[in-house]
Every structure is written in structure tokens, then in C-alpha cells.
């Protein structure tokens, strides 16, 4: 605000009485005006608030979603006082969504865990020293393991901590502490994509780069409300110079559907029929890239046989989409020069989700839309480090996409880590839902929950809470003492958060980004990495992890674990190289030059299966687990409420600004004709009920839902009282997006 400093520049001693009187009457400048003064920020920042003028800046990768934006921290004496998106970072090009801009606020929350908390005799959580906490941790878990076997203690991890921390936890739990079972909350968001890619491509390998958004001429978005779920990826679509055709397949009229060129509002969970119908038309018309299919795929003929039954008329009956529109979609895919297929939770969280994801992979293979700029069957990831969890958490697969049941894989890992191969479990972990089942059945009696909030997020809460009550000992490691899960814990370990520690995240497009320490953690909170070190020492197994002193030490271990695997990053020398390049995508084997260019997989048509061919995967369409009927006539859909909310809102609820950016209080969306029929007026109090439970909410009429549908935002802790515990049989991912419900006016 340098333009209007009329009085500020006048030295005090030369001020006349007239100036003073004039100022008193009409004051152009003063302390209140200066409170909002802006000054040139240097470091390429443009103008910044003078109060917050940085003495240095540094760029770290955002800790909310997997877009992986680079955020510039404005530092004063090393402490971040403000944030802005980094214009040089190749992911976000100077943009961020509200969560990124507000990423520092949740660190200042009142309810940060400052000390370990132990549930005392009076039933309340009491602060204790780390010594007491660690002693109790080891005593309880060891005692459970002695009584019920080593596999009776399990862990639930996350896509929210650094990859190095995941490696430490995975090694500590399974090699050091003898656990067999551990899974991540990535089961809730990405397991379907993992299973689909593994079977179709031979490795969990999202093939794309964000540059593909800008290079497509046809973009098909399935079950993805990109505009509010991943706004910065939508930004990349907006930068596409080809005026692309944007096709959205989603039961709801979402923000993204509104911004698209075409929207297919299919019946909820009719997606598998829909895409098989599209494949049918493509094959029927000979719109198949035969040379690609012949050279690089396997199983095409069987697939063609399979989709023959999905005639447009039959598909119309199942999906509600007229045959001519289905035909138009097939034609667009056929005529597109670079067609990309993208999916998110609308696909992943379904009862036959893997097959739906694979139907999109099949379409890409069929039309040869893979490996070239602007193409691909591309799963858009959820959490900031879901990709790290998928490859390096050592939960349901061995490090770097290996298999616990493969003796050769176990030996490789044992050699890299310098531990006896016999310490590595020779069986795969139970999946998340099976761990909960195991708790129900009494086989699992101790649970360590790290940086996730299943007391809100896990499907069908009543059953989940019944299971948790059966545990002998529950440890929750989190930033906050007030998460639904921390409130159930016997022991809470106070963790440092994003911005208070170092490490790396891997984003949706396989890019390693750097986390940096720009804030001090409050109280006695420690980085998860430090907590794992302390547990290892207290447990008496720290010797297995000698030399794992800093996250960067473990990054060097990560490189060795990845060497020779599809996710090989042995060519990344260290953190400084990641920082200098603005993040680096895998694979980057040793010897390959480090460039900033964005890269995609499969340019050579060689996939990771043994025969290097991608596999057409398909299955019969299965019936809805809980179809609406006369008693429960609505399809209840759940999903993201707004761009300013993140999952269970443990962090986003702590920002006053983010809280202003979404509708407050519980609400349910219903179509106008349904509302009218049921006598529900806008804003009326209503009760939404399923066979599992009910909640009260205000009715929102006339937003994006179609007749016969209700929509609840997933951020409300009551939503999962209603959902149905049903899982994809292959990926074990919960089917959050559909169950039968009814609604009535209160």
C-alpha cells in the first residue's frame, strides 16, 4: 500500500498544528491503517503484509490431498508466519486450494496434544511423561502378545505421514515387534486403484503426469468432483489449450458436472454396465486400436465376448442413459486423439469397484489411449501420501510393492535392511475390514492407530465402536486429543504435524515432494519418526534399525528398497535434489538424468506383468448390496462437502476461515420433486434413516442430486452411522457411496 502514504511520510517534527487538527478530523493514516500495510515481499513473492514480511522462504509440499502442491512458507527467524503457493512448483504453478492456503492454522489449535495421555483409574485421560507412556505401551502390547500370540496386536496407519515414517513404522511393527497385521486408511480411499492396477498392469502404477490434463482433447472424469476435491488438478484442465471435451460421469450434478461439456447422470452404481456398454459400442463399430491391442495386451477376445451382452438398450435400462447418448460418448472416445480417463472415490468406494476401475483401464487399452501424452486410465489419489502408503508402508504388501509370501522378496528386503529373513512375516496382513473383524472375534486385542480417525471415518460406526470396545489396549497417535478415536484411546501419543517435521510425500502423479520443518511442535509432541524411534528403543529392538537416525537416513534405505522395482528412485541423490527439482517422479533409476520434465509410464507399451502385456479384466455385473425398496426408497450417496473440508475435519475444523467456506450444521440434499412429494420445505428439519441408524439434518433442496437420491457430506460424524459395511471383494475397500435410506420431515 505504498501509493497512499500521504501523512506517513511527513516527519513528526515538521507537522504543523494544522496537520494535527486535520488529522484529528480526517485521519488518512495511523496504527489501524498500518495494520494492513503491504510491503514488497522479496523472494518473488509480490507484496505481502508488512507484519508478516519474511526474512527467508522455503517450499514444502502440502499435507492435505495427493495433488501435492508446493507451498512457500514465509519465514521469520525460521518460523513460518504465512504461506502462499509456489509459482515455480511444477504441480500447482502458483495456485493452491483453500486448505493449502490455510495449512498453518490447524497447527495453532487449542486442542493439540502436548503430552502423552494415559487413561487413569478414574477413566479420564491424564498427562504423563514419555517414559511412563512408552513403558505402558510396551508392557500392555507385550503382555497381549504373550497371552494371545504376536499377531494379536495390530496397527492402523495412514496416508498422512511421511514415507520415511511409514517405512519406520512398517519395519518396527513387523520386524521389530513381531506384528503380522497392519493396514492403512488408504484402504478407505485407494485400495481399489491398487488392486485394479496390479491385476491389469502388474504393478500399482498410476501411469500419468498432470501434464496429461493439458494434452488431452477428450477428458473423461468418472465419480470425480475434481473442481472441489482436487481444484488444482481442475486448474490443469483449465490450462489445456485444446478446448477439450470434458465428459463427467456422476449421478449428481456436481460443480464439475456443471463445468463439463457433457454430463452423464447415471443411476447410482450402474457404472459397470455403463462402461461395458461403451466398450460394446466401440467394439461393435470397430473403433478399436487393433495394433496396440495385439502388441501390448492380453485377454481382448474374452473381453469382447463379455461386453457383447451390454447392448445399448439394456444399458439404458440399467443406467438411465439413452442409447443415443451412450453412442455419442463412444464416438467422442473414438474420435479423440488423446483421450484420458480419470476416476476418484465415486469409483473406488463401491461394491464392485475394482471391476469398474478396470473397465476404464479396458477402455483405455481398447482404444490405445495409454502411454501417449494426454491419455491414460488414471486414478486420482486421495491423501497427500496415499501413494507412499501404497508402496512403502509394509502393511498389506512388502516394501516397494513386494509380496510377503514370496521368499525371494523377503530375502531381498532382509538383505537391504540387514535383518535375518526370518524376521519378516511370511504371510500377508489382514485388510482393514478383516482387522476390525478380528477385533470383533477376539483374535486382535491390541491396536495402534497412527494419524487416522476411524472413530469417524470407518463405515457403519455402530459395529466399529462395538469392536473397539472389545480391545484390551488402544493406542492413538495424533496431533489432537479431541478426535473421535483419541477420545476412545487408552493411551494417546502426541505427534508433531505437517510443517513440524521432515520427510517426503509421493503425490498422485508419483512425484516425491519434500516436507520441511517450519514450525516448532507444541509441548512434548514429537514427530512420528521420533515416536517410532522411542518405541523401538523401549521395545528393545532399535538395533535392527541402526543408522535410521533421521528421515533422510531412511530415505536412503527407501532408495535401496526401490532399486530394480518399477518404483525405482535410486537416481534421486537426496532431499536437496528433490528440493532443487521441485519434486521428482518415480521411476528415476540411478544413472538417469534428473530433469524437471513431467513423465508418464508405458510410453514403450511394456507393462509390468511377466509377459509385459496389460490384461483386460472384467466380471459380471453384481446386484446392489442394498437396493432401495418401498421402506427405504432412496439411494443414499455420500461424498465431499466442499473444498474447504478434509475428511473427518480434525484439521480443517481448526481454521476459522475454512469453517466459513462451507455450509454449517448437518444437512442432507434432496431433489425438489421428492421434497415436494414428502412435504419437505427448504431448511426443514428432517430425519434420514437407514437400517443401521438415523440422523437429523436440514433439508437442502435443489442442489445437484437427482430424484430418488439423497446426499450426505462425509465430514459429518453421524454420516457413517448410516452407511452399510459392504466391501469390494477384491480390494476390501468400503462401499461408502451407496445404501438404501428413507427421509421424513420432523
Amino acid at each position: 500500500m505504498t501509493s497512499d502514504s500521504r501523512d506517513a511520510s511527513a516527519p513528526n517534527d515538521r507537522r504543523t498544528l494544522r496537520d494535527t487538527v486535520q488529522d484529528l478530523v480526517r485521519q488518512w493514516d495511523g496504527p489501524l491503517t498500518r495494520d494492513l500495510l503491504r510491503a514488497p515481499g522479496r523472494f518473488g513473492l509480490g507484496q505481502v503484509p508488512s507484519r508478516l514480511e519474511p526474512t527467508a522462504t522455503t517450499t514444502l509440499v502440502c499435507g492435505f490431498c495427493s495433488t501435492g502442491c508446493g507451498l512457500t512458507a514465509h519465514l521469520q527467524q525460521g518460523v513460518a508466519t504465512n504461506l502462499s503457493p509456489d509459482p515455480r512448483y511444477p504441480v500447482n504453478l502458483g495456485m493452491a486450494c483453500p486448505k493449502g492456503w490455510e495449512a498453518l492454522s490447524p497447527l495453532d489449535a487449542e486442542d493439540r496434544a502436548l503430552d502423552p495421555l494415559l487413561r487413569g483409574a478414574n477413566g479420564a485421560l491424564q498427562p504423563v511423561t514419555w517414559d511412563v507412556a512408552l513403558d505402558r505401551f510396551c508392557t500392555e502390547f507385550k503382555s497381549i502378545q504373550q497371552r494371545h500370540g504376536p499377531e494379536s496386536v495390530a496397527f492402523l496407519s495412514t496416508g498422512q505421514i511421511a514415507t520415511e515414517e511409514m517405512i519406520y513404522l512398517g519395519a518396527l511393527a513387523k520386524i521389530g515387534m513381531g506384528m503380522i497385521h497392519g493396514d492403512g486408511n488408504t484402504r478407505q480411499c485407494m485400495a481399489t486403484a491398487v488392486s485394479a492396477y496390479k491385476e491389469s498392469f502388474g504393478f500399482d502404477a498410476p501411469p500419468y503426469s498432470y501434464a496429461d490434463f493439458e494434452a488431452s482433447d477428450v477428458i473423461v472424469l468418472v465419480g470425480s468432483n475434481l473442481c472441489i476435491a482436487h481444484p488444482i488438478q481442475w486448474e490443469r484442465i483449465c490450462k489445456n489449450p485444446n478446448a477439450p471435451e470434458i465428459i463427467v460421469v456422476d449421478p449428481r450434478r456436481t460443480e464439475t458436472a456443471e463445468a463439463a461439456t457433457d454430463h452423464y447422470a447415471i443411476e447410482p452404481r450402474s457404472d459397470l454396465s455403463f462402461f461395458y456398454g461403451v466398450a460394446h459400442i466401440l467394439i461393435e463399430n470397430g473403433w478399436v486400436d487393433r495394433s496396440f491391442v495385439d502388441a501390448h495386451t492380453e485377454g481382448f477376445e474374452a473381453f469382447a465376448d463379455h461386453v457383447r451382452a451390454f447392448k445399448p438398450e439394456a444399458v439404458e435400462a440399467a443406467t438411465g442413459i439413452p442409447a443415443n447418448r451412450l453412442h455419442a460418448l463412444a464416438r467422442s472416445i473414438h474420435e479423440g486423439k488423446a483421450v484420458s480417463f480419470w476416476w476418484t472415490m465415486g469409483v473406488n468406494q463401491g461394491h464392485e469397484a475394482v471391476r469398474v476401475a478396470q473397465s476404464l483401464i479396458d477402455l483405455a487399452l481398447l482404444t490405445g489411449n495409454i502411454g501417449r501424452p494426454g491419455t491414460g486410465a488414471n486414478s486420482i489419489t486421495g491423501q497427500c501420501n496415499a501413494m507412499g502408503s501404497r508402496l512403502f508402508s509394509n502393511t498389506t504388501n512388502l516394501f516397494a510393492g513386494r509380496d510377503f509370501e514370496n521368499p525371494g522378496h523377503r530375502r531381498e528386503v532382509a538383505d537391504i535392511l540387514g535383518v535375518p529373513a526370518g524376521r519378516i512375516p511370511d504371510q500377508n496382513s489382514l485388510a482393514y475390514d478383516e482387522i476390525i473383524e478380528g477385533i470383533h472375534a477376539g483374535r486382535i486385542r491390541g491396536l495402534w492407530v497412527v494419524a487416522t480417525n476411524p472413530g469417524h471415518s470407518w463405515i457403519e460406526q455402530a459395529a466399529f465402536r462395538e469392536a473397539i470396545a472389545k480391545l484390551d489396549f488402544l493406542v492413538v497417535q495424533d496431533l489432537y486429543t479431541t478426535t473421535e478415536t483419541a477420545e476412545l484411546a487408552d493411551l494417546v501419543l502426541p505427534a508433531a504435524g505437517w510443517g513440524e517435521k521432515e520427510g517426503t510425500f509421493i503425490n498422485s502423479e508419483r512425484r516425491f515432494g519434500l516436507l520441511q520443518k517450519v514450525r516448532r511442535a507444541p509441548g512434548r509432541a514429537l514427530a512420528d519418526f521420533h515416536i517410532f524411534q522411542l518405541v523401538a528403543e523401549a521395545w528393545g529392538c532399535r538395533d535392527w534399525f541402526a543408522g535410521w537416525d533421521t528421515p533422510e537416513d531412511v530415505f536412503q534405505v527407501l532408495k535401496e528398497l526401490s532399486r530394480g522395482r518399477p518404483c525405482d528412485v535410486s537416481g534421486i541423490s537426496d532431499y536437496a535434489a528433490i528440493d532443487a527439482a521441485g519434486g521428482l517422479q518415480w521411476p528415476l533409476p540411478e544413472g538417469e538424468p534428473v530433469t524437471r520434465s513431467e513423465r508418464r509410464l508405458f510410453a514403450d507399451g511394456r507393462f509390468y506383468r511377466e509377459n509385459a502385456r496389460a490384461l483386460f479384466c472384467f466380471a459380471p455385473v453384481s446386484p446392489l448390496p442394498e437396493a432401495p425398496n418401498a421402506d427405504y426408497p432412496f439411494a443414499l450417496l455420500t461424498g465431499r462437502g466442499s473444498s474447504s473440508q478434509w475428511h473427518t475435519e480434525t484439521r480443517t475444523a481448526k481454521s476459522a476461515v475454512l469453517q466459513k467456506l462451507h455450509r454449517r450444521g448437518p444437512y442432507v440434499e434432496i431433489h425438489a420433486t421428492d421434497a415436494q412429494r414428502l412435504g419437505i420445505a427448504p431448511e426443514d428439519r428432517v430425519q434420514v434413516e437407514t437400517r443401521r441408524g438415523s440422523l437429523e439434518a436440514h433439508a437442502v433442496i435443489g442442489s445437484g442430486v437427482q430424484p430418488g437420491q439423497l446426499f450426505l457430506p462425509m465430514h459429518d460424524s453421524n454420516t457413517n452411522q448410516l452407511t452399510l459395511a459392504c466391501f469390494d471383494p477384491i480390494s476390501h475397500q468400503p462401499s461408502y457411496k451407496h445404501c438404501a435410506a428413507r427421509i421424513e420431515r420432523l
Binding site: 500500500m1 523472494f43 502458483g94 495456485m95 463445468a259 532431499y575 442442489s703
Partner: protein, 565 residues
């Protein structure tokens, strides 16, 4: 919160530091600067690349800067709100931009449009014309409407004057703040924060012509989406390839009470009570004379004192509404355009004249009660009375006249906002109705207390007038309920009164009912004793009712500003 952590314990007796202590120490070290701090001093200015989003040249004569919003590109990410918040260093929960949602049912099904909004930097800004202290400045070259933070007294009238609810009061600072279109950035060729922060280039700055007859600039968002631009002539241009007339704000039916402004409610009711009392007193003086007998003198003294007390208390209360009352002296600056200034300028002399009148009417009563009529004090008193007494009728007329002008100014303050609930006939009816009701009830109580055998015509006349006031006001206030089904501002008021405010509205009507009953009974019982007690009860109940009415006047105002969520 970020203080250096204490060590977990005193350390190992051997002097070898324990792991937990080492890690806590390490946790407290900040390493980003030496390890990774950005080395470049050079680089682009701000975030993103925005040069196409700024006009090629500054505004010429008859032109100004304006926000331009491409609705087709606005997809509801709300980054603009947070970019503005961070890059301008706003308060913790302060936001100068907002993003609302518009919804419609069209042939193809539901339609959704998100819309980013901020200050429209109007050609005829309501905030500026309403401000009593000239704390707003419309830059003659850029047209940017800037708020002068150090000039503001925190009266918050601009919050009511802006049809778009743009200015925001910051209680911790005692002032209002608002968007300045990042004037300092524009002056340096840098884009405003929101323009920099929009991932989809939906917001840009353009140069627009002023004073041209043209269709409503805000129309692209639909006629029902925002208040019409005829009032303040906003300059923001919303453009869309597919504008839909059917769009309505998603929060159209949301019922959220507005801020109460209770000090203002108290001020309005007490000042109107005072004017009513002085008017009734003038009537009694006109009918019964000013010094007919000792009882009449006492009655006048009592009424005038009560009137002065009410006026003083009311105006005292109003200062509690100011964020920075010590700068209230600036209020004359806005006299040319601001009804707030006018009200303040009128009510000041009103209070002074009321004090003079009260003094003049109290002196004879004091004189009567002096034990010894021959002291020097008595002489001074007698000579003072000898020249104040003839002035009393004139003073009384002046107090009532200026008081009535004050009430008119008060009503105009609200009428001038253009908010339908506060339209002039209704607001004037409420405000003068309060003066009538409370003035006559105070008169009735004073008559019954001070006059042992009051003239029947007087007490019944006062009671009838009070009852008419109570009933008339009740009818005016309840009539609004008929609007409850309409998607209008008045419909919103009705829904608030029947929804979140229903208890308060019920109490308000109950108080009026109680007052009405007591008013009917009081003159029947007559004279000091039960009659006077009932009249005092009626006055108390009616005053409580009027305070609630005025509280609801503010809280139930429901005109639509910009679309909400």
C-alpha cells in the same frame, strides 16, 4: 504454544543424555532455513501469472477499475477467499471475499453455479454516503472505494447501508474493514490477491465506463441472485456464456438472525420515549397550563425529569455501540449525505434543550419545597424562575419539534438503506408509534401518581392513546407474518419471526398484551394507589415490549445480500 519444550525429565544420572531428551531437543530445532531456504531473490511477482488479467492501461476520465468475474470459470474452489486472507494479512476469521452457490431447476435437471463475490466498488457507494465521519473515499482516478481505518468510529452504519453486506466490523479493533481491490498492488502493476489466487483465471480487473445507462451488470447471475444494482450501481461485471434467469441463492430459505445492535435498540426506544414524554407534557401544559397549581407543577417536573433521564440514558447507550466513541466528534462530517450524521447533529441540541426545559420545570417545584423563602438562594431561584417561566412553552415546543425531527432522522437512517423491512412508512410508524405509546403511558403513570383526582378526560384520553399505539404497533409488526411463504426479504423476516426468533417475538407480543391490559384497567382504578401501580406496570411492560420490538427490528431484517452457501 510454540515455546521451547521442557525436557521430559532431568536426564540420566550418568550424564548420558537419554534418547527422549535428544529427540525433544531436536524437535525444537528449526532446520528449513539452513537446509532448504529459497536462494532466489528474483522471480515472478506474487503467485501465478496474471498479466492477462489486468487492464492494459489505467482508467481514463469517466472510467474506473472493476472486478470482472467469468462465471463459467468459477467452480467453487474458494481459493480466492484464502488468497486474499493470507496475502492481505487479515484477522483470523476475516474474509473480504466470499463464494456462494446459486441453484436452479432447469429442463435438463438441477443446475449449480458458484459465484465469487467481494466489494463491488460501486459508482454510488452506500457505505460512503452513509458514513457519518467520511471514513470512505472513492478514488477519483481508480474508482476504488477505500475505507480509512483510522477515521472510522465503528458505528457500523455502513454494514446496513451496503446492500451486499460487504463491510465487516472487527470488534477487536473497534472498526470496520473491507476490500480495497489491493489498490497498492494495482498501483505497482501487481494483480489483487484474489486475481493472483484463482486457479481458473475467473477473476480479473477491467476498466469500465461510469455513468452509462446500461442493463444491470449483475444480471448474469440471475435477477434473483443479488440485490439489484439500481441502488448503489456496483461495478463488478459477471459474465457467462449461459446465464440463467432461474438462479436463486442456495441459502434463500436459510433463516439466520442478523446482529442485534442492542445499544442502538436501547437508544432508539429511550429517545423515542423521551420525545413522547415531552410531547405529552407539552399537551398537558397546553390543556392544564404550566403552573396552574402545585400538583400540575410536580407533574410537569416529574415528566420533564423522566424525559431528560430517558434521553440521556438513550444517548449514553448509543455510544456503547461505537467501536471508538472518543472520535464520535467527527460525526458532523457526513452531514451532507448521511442520515446518521443528521441524527447525531439533531439529537445533540435535543438533549441540551431537554435539559433546559427540565430545569425550568423543576425550579418551581424546588422553590415550593424550600424550607425558608428568605434566603439568598431563594432569591436567585425566584429571579431565575421569573425569566425561565415565560420561556417554558417555547422551550417545550422546541424540544418536541427537534425531538420529532430526531425521530424522523432515526427512521431515515434505516429507510435510506433500501432494505424492504425498513421502508419509510413502516419504520416511521414504528418509531413514532413508540413515542406515542410510551409517552402516553408515562404521562398516564405520572398523572395517576402525581394528581390525586385526575381529570377523567385526561387519564382516559392518555389510556386510549396508549392502547391505540399498542394495538396499532402490534398490527403493523404482525402483518409481516403474512409474507412467510414468499422468497423475499419480508418472507425471510416472517420465517425468522416464526423460526429462530419465535420465543422473542412471542415475548414481545406478550409484553404488549400485558401492557394493554394494565392500560385498560389503570384509569378505571384511578388516582395514586392501585391505578398508579397498574399504570407503572403498563409502562414497564410496554417499554420491555418496545425494546424487544427494536431488537427484532434488527435481528429479523432478512434482505438478501450476496449468495451464500
Amino acid at each position: 504454544m510454540t515455546a521451547a519444550p521442557e525436557l521430559d525429565s532431568a536426564g540420566d544420572p550418568d550424564g548420558v543424555p537419554r534418547l527422549v531428551d535428544l529427540l525433544l531437543e531436536e524437535q525444537s530445532q528449526l532446520t528449513a532455513v539452513e537446509r532448504f531456504a529459497t536462494r532466489h531473490e528474483e522471480g515472478p511477482s506474487g503467485v501465478g501469472s496474471y498479466h492477462e488479467l489486468l487492464p492494459a492501461s489505467p482508467p481514463g476520465p469517466g472510467q474506473q477499475y472493476a472486478f470482472r468475474v467469468d462465471l463459467d470459470a468459477c467452480t467453487g474452489c474458494k481459493a480466492c477467499v484464502t488468497a486474499c486472507h493470507n496475502l492481505n494479512g487479515l484477522g483470523e476469521d476475516e474474509t473480504w471475499r466470499a463464494v456462494g452457490t446459486l441453484v436452479a431447476q432447469v429442463d435438463t435437471g438441477p443446475a449449480v453455479q458458484t459465484v465469487t463475490t467481494a466489494c463491488h466498488h460501486c459508482e454510488d457507494p452506500g457505505c460512503l454516503s452513509g458514513c457519518p465521519v467520511q471514513a470512505y473515499d472513492k478514488d477519483p482516478f481508480t474508482g476504488i472505494v477505500r475505507h480509512l481505518d483510522d477515521q472510522c468510529i465503528g458505528c457500523q452504519y455502513c454494514l446496513l447501508k451496503c446492500p451486499y453486506d460487504v463491510p465487516q466490523y472487527r470488534p477487536e479493533l473497534g472498526i470496520v474493514r473491507k476490500c480495497d481491490m489491493c489498490a497498492g498492488r494495482l498501483a505497482e502493476g501487481e494483480a489483487p490477491a484474489c486475481v493472483q489466487g484463482c486457479p481458473n483465471d475467473a477473476i480479473s480487473i477491467s476498466v469500465v465506463d461510469r455513468d452509462l445507462p446500461r442493463p444491470d451488470r449483475l444480471l448474469a447471475v440471475g435477477p434473483g441472485a443479488m440485490p439489484a444494482s439500481s441502488v448503489t450501481r456496483p461495478t463488478t461485471r459477471y459474465v457467462s456464456r449461459r446465464p440463467r434467469r432461474e438462479y436463486a441463492p442456495a441459502n434463500l430459505y436459510a433463516a439466520e438472525p442478523r446482529p442485534a445492535h442492542d445499544p442502538l435498540a436501547i437508544m432508539l426506544v429511550l429517545v423515542q420515549l423521551a420525545v413522547g414524554i415531552f410531547a405529552v407534557d407539552a399537551g398537558i401544559g397546553w390543556i392544564m397550563g404550566w403552573d396552574a397549581d402545585a400538583e400540575t407543577g410536580t407533574l410537569h417536573a416529574a415528566l420533564a425529569t423522566a424525559g431528560l433521564a430517558a434521553a440521556g440514558l438513550g444517548m449514553g447507550a448509543s455510544t456503547a455501540h461505537l467501536g471508538r466513541p472518543r472520535y464520535a466528534f467527527r460525526a458532523f462530517l457526513g452531514l451532507r449525505t448521511s442520515w446518521m450524521s443528521r441524527e447525531i447533529v439533531v439529537l445533540g441540541p435535543f438533549l441540551g434543550l431537554a435539559a433546559a426545559l427540565a430545569g425550568a420545570l423543576t425550579l418551581p417545584a424546588i422553590q415550593e419545597r424550600l424550607p425558608d423563602a428568605n434566603t439568598a438562594l431563594a432569591g436567585v431561584l425566584a429571579s431565575t424562575i421569573s425569566w425561565t417561566t415565560p420561556a417554558v412553552p417555547w422551550l417545550s415546543g422546541a424540544v418536541v419539534g427537534i425531538g420529532a425531527l430526531g425521530i424522523f432522522c432515526s427512521a431515515m437512517i434505516y429507510a435510506d438503506t433500501g432494505r424492504p423491512l425498513w421502508g419509510m412508512p413502516r419504520t416511521a410508524a414504528l418509531f413514532f408509534g413508540t413515542a406515542l405509546t410510551l409517552g402516553t403511558l408515562a404521562g398516564l403513570a405520572a398523572v395517576l401518581v402525581c394528581v390525586p383526582e385526575p381529570p377523567t378526560t385526561l387519564s382516559f384520553g392518555l389510556a386510549v392513546a396508549a392502547a391505540a399505539g399498542l394495538i396499532g404497533k402490534g398490527v403493523v409488526e404482525s402483518a409481516i407474518l403474512g409474507e412467510r411463504r414468499n422468497p423475499t426479504a419480508l418472507g425471510g423476516t416472517a420465517r425468522l419471526l416464526l423460526g429462530p426468533l419465535r420465543v422473542r417475538f412471542g415475548l414481545r407480543l406478550g409484553a404488549a398484551g400485558l401492557a394493554l391490559t394494565a392500560t385498560g384497567l389503570a384509569p378505571l382504578l384511578g388516582g395514586p394507589g392501585p391505578g398508579a401501580a397498574l399504570a407503572i406496570l403498563a409502562l414497564a411492560a410496554a417499554t420491555a415490549g418496545e425494546l424487544l420490538e427494536r431488537h427484532l427490528f434488527f435481528t429479523s431484517e432478512a434482505s438478501r445480500a450476496m449468495p451464500g452457501l
